[in-house]
Amino acid sequence: MSAIESRTAMSAPMQSTSRLGNRLKQVALHTAVFLLCLVWFTPVLSLFVTTFRSESDSSRTGWWYAFIEWRPVLSNYVEAIYLTGVGRSVVNSIVLTVPTVLGTVLFSAIGAFALARMRFRGRIALFLAMVGFQVLPPQLVLVPMLKFFLALGLTGTFIPVWIIEMGLTVPFGIFLLYGFFASIPSDLVEAARIDGASEPRIFFQIILPLSGAVLASLAILQFMIAWNHLLIPLIFLGSGSLSPLTVQVASLAQTNAGGLNTLTAATFISVIVPLVLIVTLQKYFVRGVLGGAVKG
């Protein structure tokens, strides 16, 4: 929004010919954005509408009929809540996600601080290796991990899920934060050192407070990833009493217990939390990602 505003503000004092050109560009831009939104949102809208239609309505007419004869029912949601055991699985999702997010941010920040602000042997090699290994597909590590945690007797607990979710994002997190930390003027760190701050103090009292936006964007990113992951919790937690919302929705699809409309309702329940989160925090998200990119 503000980018577009500042663009118009910039073009205002220009000559009339180029103003016409800009005008055309604007129209083209808006058209493109509008079309994208249309393509993107139509299926989502259809699903959303479907969650409020009864099974019999859906079997007779297409979803757009809902706009012609609006007869909303809540039964899909009621059934979805009942079948997925929403209460418990939302709690599971939260228990799975929140520690993962906190851990990811903390460990990424510590790693990035060490790489950006401390001098030790093999620093560059470590950094390159970390960036490089991200091209490996995560599925590659799942079997060894499963064996490992089976041997430790930790499957069926949240611990392996936390660790693996963190492990998959931390390298990216370090990469994201590294650029930002490296851009913090070294004078600040040196001033703190002279003021008597130890390295952990510098980290917690100088570096972290200055990195709020980037840390927030990493946290939001990891929240979305962990909240939406299916495979890892499925493997390590099964579909029993510890399973998160995603697993419950998936098993609903498999057993076909409630019908299609119930399934879509369940899906919508599972995206509400990340949706609310990203809409309320999108300012930080965008600022953090852009800030890191520009400065790093």
Binding site: P185, D187, L188, E190, A191, A192, R193, I194, D195, G196, A197, R201, I206, P209, L210
Partner: protein
């Protein structure tokens, strides 16, 4: 408060040596300015005193201790950075109190110390502001306040005024000097501006390419520069240099003889020398003077600067009296023979 002594201090980055065995003694309570052109190693030297840069060789003493292996916080120093390095997420008061907080002082104690320092620097109304809400000069004062609060043995400044405009720089120059008089602490101040050095220092250390060229009081450096580099670096407009030959008590440029009263060692007879004379040591005289061919005249009111040449060599004169000569004309001048600086052309060292 303490003395600082540098003993044969060297700094080597990878293969390149940037500080070549520096010896400087800074007395307790002295205001010492390290001055020199860009890249000569002033900041590096200061940072070695601070403990931010490892000392490759030699010793740094603060008080009676060798601090080579001490961390910055244990050296009891405070540093003011060119960028000020204020913590952006802390208020002025928090910035100033940070070091005391790190020492574990009580909140009330920190508050009193901060207020005391704020009073000295007229920062009281700004204590609850953030650095981004301050002007450049105010930030500069906060940076000094942060140093004062620590009550350190030694203050270190690295070009603290170079981000300010010319007028404010003069004001802050005075404030730092007043602060020194008030606190009586040892201060080491880095600048590349020789006017700052002259006006502020008790003692100036002139550096070039990692070597100390000369150490002395501002006027000692001005009146008796030890070599060509110092002679050219100190003073504005700079000293005039005329190259010639020394023979029988005078310097000869072609067939013009320039007077010298403070004679060099006799071994200099017949040597190629550089004859140095400061612009204000030229005087307008009558017809028997040296002919200064005038190119540019710059009246400043109190005095007039004249750029011209004598026997093809460029000379600048600064005169208090008014005259009527126009550019292109000839002004007859004479040099004060007691104010002549003679340098050996080869070694560039002073020889009188």
């Amino acid at each position: 408060m303490a003395n600082v002594n540098l003993r044969d201090v060297r700094k080597i980055y990878n293969q390149t040596q940037v500080i070549h065995g520096v010896n400087v003694d800074i007395d307790d309570g002295e205001f010492v300015v390290l001055v020199g052109p860009s890249g000569c190693g002033k900041s590096t030297l200061l940072r070695m005193i601070a403990g931010l840069e490892e000392i490759s060789d030699g010793q740094v003493h603060i008080g009676s201790t060798i601090v080579n292996d001490m961390s910055p916080k244990d050296r009891d120093i405070a540093m003011v950075f060119q960028s000020y390095a204020l913590y952006p997420h802390m208020t002025v008061a928090q910035n100033m109190g940070f070091s005391l907080q790190m020492r574990g002082n009580a909140k009330a104690e920190i508050r009193t110390q901060v207020e005391k320092a704020a009073k000295i620097l007229n920062l009281e109304p700004l204590l609850e502001r953030y650095p981004r809400q301050l002007s450049g000069g105010q930030r500069q004062r906060v940076a000094m306040g942060r140093a004062i609060v620590r009550n350190p043995q030694v203050f270190l400044f690295d070009e603290p005024l170079s981000n300010l405009d010319a007028k404010l720089r003069v004001v802050m120059r005075g404030e730092i000097k007043a602060l020194h008089q008030r606190l009586g602490s040892t201060m080491v101040y880095v600048t590349h501006d020789q006017i700052e050095a002259m006006t502020m220092a008790d003692k100036i250390v002139v550096m070039r390419d990692g070597f100390v060229e000369q150490v002395g009081s501002p006027l000692a450096l001005y009146d008796r520069p030890a070599n060509l580099f110092v002679a050219g670096f100190i003073g504005s407009p700079g000293m005039n240099f005329l190259s010639g030959r020394y023979a029988s008590g005078a310097v000869w440029i072609g067939d013009v003889s320039l007077p010298v009263s403070d004679l060099p060692v006799s071994a200099s007879e017949g040597r190629q020398v550089v004859y140095g004379i400061r612009p204000e040591n030229l005087a307008i005289t009558d017809d028997d003077g040296l002919p200064l061919v005038v190119e540019v005249i710059e009246p400043t009111g109190a005095e007039t600067h004249v750029v011209g040449h004598i026997s093809g060599q460029r000379v600048i004169g600064v005169f208090r009296e008014r005259f009527t000569t126009r550019p292109g004309g000839v002004l007859r001048v004479k040099f004060d023979p007691r104010k002549v600086h003679l340098f050996d052309q080869q070694s560039e060292q002073r020889i009188n």
